[in-house]
């Protein structure tokens, strides 16, 4: 896959279709790839990489990059294309300045899962035939790739690219039975007190690093209300109070109807707070109240919270969930 991607990127750079490539750059270890903009063939050959640890969603970088000089090539996984489409719908990306290559994806790996197996001192990871041979200074171990699959990929909603200029690999389908609302249903089945205790417990670990917000493609405000000293709610202290926990709930409200469920918030959370569950609750509610809707699937679709119809559910009809 990496070879095909690199070859195509070199061709598109050489023929002038694009003048930059947005992809992933090699790390110190086999798993710590950094999103990077490549501006020359030499640079691409030197440090371009693609493997199971390239989980980062590159769409958000295009807000800035698509406003640059010339066209940029970007590699998008199926879930990333939803974020890209949503940003197009919100007029945040200049579509004409981006060349999208959709890349097939069968799920990304989560390093934390490998570490939880006791693997440390990792010096190499050979990936083949659905297995990872993890080389460490303490010895090698072979693990099934599926045992290291990221949680968000285990409930992947779609292997279909909703936008692309060309594809590398196969295009897939929307996954109908992805079970992504299973945990939301469990939370709904709790009593309000239990649910409150669950979220207070999870959110008590928050260190207010803002990684969830800053990585989120739906959080694209020029200045966040929580960073604006004139807003009256700017706040960077992490205190375990209800006001503090509200940060995440307000954020979930703000991205409701625009969140594509890419799962980046939970991927980057250093404290492993399952933030995506807040977004999924909103998605599930909107599906039930206003009909099935997937943000980013169609940039021309009217979003449920931005559309009025006479048949809209009245506030007093709101579920008691």
């Amino acid at each position: 896959m990496q070879e095909m991607m690199e070859k195509r990127a070199l061709e598109l750079l050489a023929d002038g279709t694009v003048n930059r490539v947005l992809g992933w750059s090699v790390g110190e270890f086999p798993y710590d790839m950094t999103p990077a903009v490549f501006r020359s063939a030499e640079d691409l050959k030197d440090r371009f990489v693609y493997n199971d640890f390239c989980g980062a969603n590159l769409s958000k970088y295009l807000i800035k990059e698509s406003k640059g000089e010339g066209k940029i090539l970007v590699f998008l996984k199926p879930c990333d294309t939803y974020s890209f489409n949503q940003l197009i719908a919100e007029h945040r990306i200049k579509r004409e300045n981006v060349y999208v290559i959709g890349i097939e994806c069968y799920g990304k790996a989560d390093l934390e899962k490998l570490k939880a197996m006791g693997l440390s001192g990792i010096t190499g990871i050979q990936m083949k035939n659905g297995e990872y041979v993890v080389e460490t200074v303490y010895g090698n171990k072979t693990v099934k790739a599926s045992d290291a699959t990221a949680e968000r990929c285990l409930s992947c909603k779609s292997k279909k690219h909703v936008v692309f200029d060309e594809l590398i690999g196969e295009d897939g389908d929307v996954v109908e039975d992805c079970n992504r609302f299973d945990m939301v249903e469990k939370l709904e089945a709790m009593t309000p007190d239990e649910r409150f205790a669950f979220w207070r417990g999870e959110l008590s670990r928050c260190i207010r690093c803002n990684a969830c917000r800053n990585v989120c493609p739906a959080c694209s405000c020029e200045q966040c209300v929580f960073d604006n000293p004139n807003s009256g709610v700017a706040q960077k202290a992490a205190v375990n109070s209800f006001e503090e926990n509200m940060f995440h709930i307000i954020r979930a409200f703000h991205v409701a109807g625009r969140c594509t469920d890419c799962g980046e918030c939970s991927r980057v959370c250093p404290q492993h707070i399952p933030l995506h569950l807040l977004n999924r609750k909103f998605i599930k509610d909107m599906n039930e109240f206003y009909g099935e809707y997937q943000a980013g699937a169609d940039p021309d679709a009217r979003p449920p919270l931005g559309t009025y119809t006479k048949g809209d559910r009245e506030p007093n009809e709101g579920g008691n969930k």
Binding site: G27, E28, F29, D32, M33, T34, P35, A36, V37, A56, Y61, A116, S120, G121, I122, T123, T136, V137, Y138, G201, R205, I207, R208, C209, N210, A211, R213, N214, V215, Q223, D227, P229, A234, K236, A237, A238, V239, E264, R267, V268, P270, Q271, H272
Partner: protein, 342 residues
């Protein structure tokens, strides 16, 4: 040196906890180690290190500094400082123990930070030598020995127990108070353990990381390096690196209006944030490039410049593990070492 048998570790914890608060690394609900207060039944984590650093004990993420009460035109200023109770931290690794020296250089020099000093004086640090370092470890780059950590007491795992060595008066006092649990031992087992760990460290991928290209006296050269643009290009501007870092020491001071008074508090700040050191004249570091550069200039150039060459990093590797986009101080150092000082 004194030896504690495997079976007596929790007796040792109980003996300390009977007199003062004892904190140690404990696995939390998501399986990550974090410092928690020990009580009967709480188990010591066997993970290499805590996800957050130990700096909270002396420099908490948020703390109240003072209060103001207003009645009509009268304002009362209330000093909320109280002498801190004695406490013990067990299980601090060499990197985090070294971070306390770095924080001391900031908070215990004139003007002394009384809040920090109060906690520092009342805390006893028991360090735990590393047995199984990770690939993200690079404390050796900064002259820190993972096999011989500092602290008031140092503890090593040996085959059938633990070997303790008191390093300071505080440490000796604590060992004396629990003397009946220990037996005398020589340093043979410790030496063997140290040899083993140092051998492992030498095989780690970052064993050869040097501070070439950075350090005291290089402000202009490093500041002007063109590589900052590409290094900072994909930085999200979040504060993860700062908040998991054991040496990041910047804070903000704000007032919280309680409705009938003001609580003046300070909280950790991050140079990665857009409002960091923002003044009436504006933001001195307008883009992420300048903010990103500030973080690494501070640790790798400004800090050693002002502190006898001591770097503001202890190589704990937390930022390597936690950065959402895997950009970190090691990648910065390696890039700066390449083609620097031409």
């Amino acid at each position: 040196m004194k030896k504690l048998s495997l079976a007596k570790l929790y007796d040792f914890f109980a003996a300390i906890a009977a007199k003062e608060a004892l904190y140690l690394p404990v696995n939390n609900e998501v399986g990550k180690a974090e410092y928690k207060r020990w009580s009967e039944g709480v188990e010591l984590s066997h993970q290499l290190n805590t996800l957050r650093s130990a700096k909270d004990f002396f420099f908490p993420q948020t703390e109240n500094l003072m209060e103001f009460k207003m009645e009509g035109k009268k304002i009362d200023i209330i000093d909320t400082r109280e002498a801190c109770d004695d406490f013990v931290i067990f299980g601090v690794r060499a990197c985090d123990a070294a971070s306390f020296d770095i924080l001391d250089r900031v908070y215990l020099v004139d003007p002394v930070d009384s809040y920090y000093k109060n906690r520092r004086e009342h805390g006893t640090v028991i360090t735990h030598a590393c047995g199984k370092p990770a690939e993200t470890c690079f404390c050796g780059t900064f002259g820190i020995d993972a096999a011989d950590p500092k602290g008031d007491i140092t503890v090593w795992d040996v085959e059938d127990g633990y070997v303790f060595r008191a390093n300071t008066e505080k440490g000796e006092k604590l060992m004396a108070a629990t003397a009946d649990l220990f037996e005398d031992t020589d340093d043979k087992a410790v030496k063997a353990e140290q040899d083993k760990v140092r051998e492992i460290l030498a095989k780690m991928p970052l064993a050869d990381l040097t501070t070439e290209g950075v350090g005291a006296g290089l402000t202009k050269e490093v500041f002007d390096r063109p590589e900052w643009a590409s290094l900072s290009e994909s930085c999200l501007g979040c504060g993860t690196c700062t908040f998991v870092c054991p040496t990041c020491q910047c804070y903000d001071i704000r007032d919280f209006d309680t409705g009938h008074g003001i609580q003046r508090f300070r909280c950790w700040d991050s140079c990665m944030y857009s409002d960091f050191t923002k003044m009436s004249a504006g933001q001195p570091r307008p883009t992420q490039l300048e903010r990103f550069r500030q973080r690494f200039m501070h640790k790798l150039v400004y800090f050693p410049d002002n502190n006898d060459g001591v770097f503001g990093c202890v190589g704990c590797g937390r930022c390597l593990s936690r950065c959402p986009i895997s950009m970190n101080i090691v990648k910065v150092m390696k890039t700066l070492a390449k083609g620097g000082n031409k």
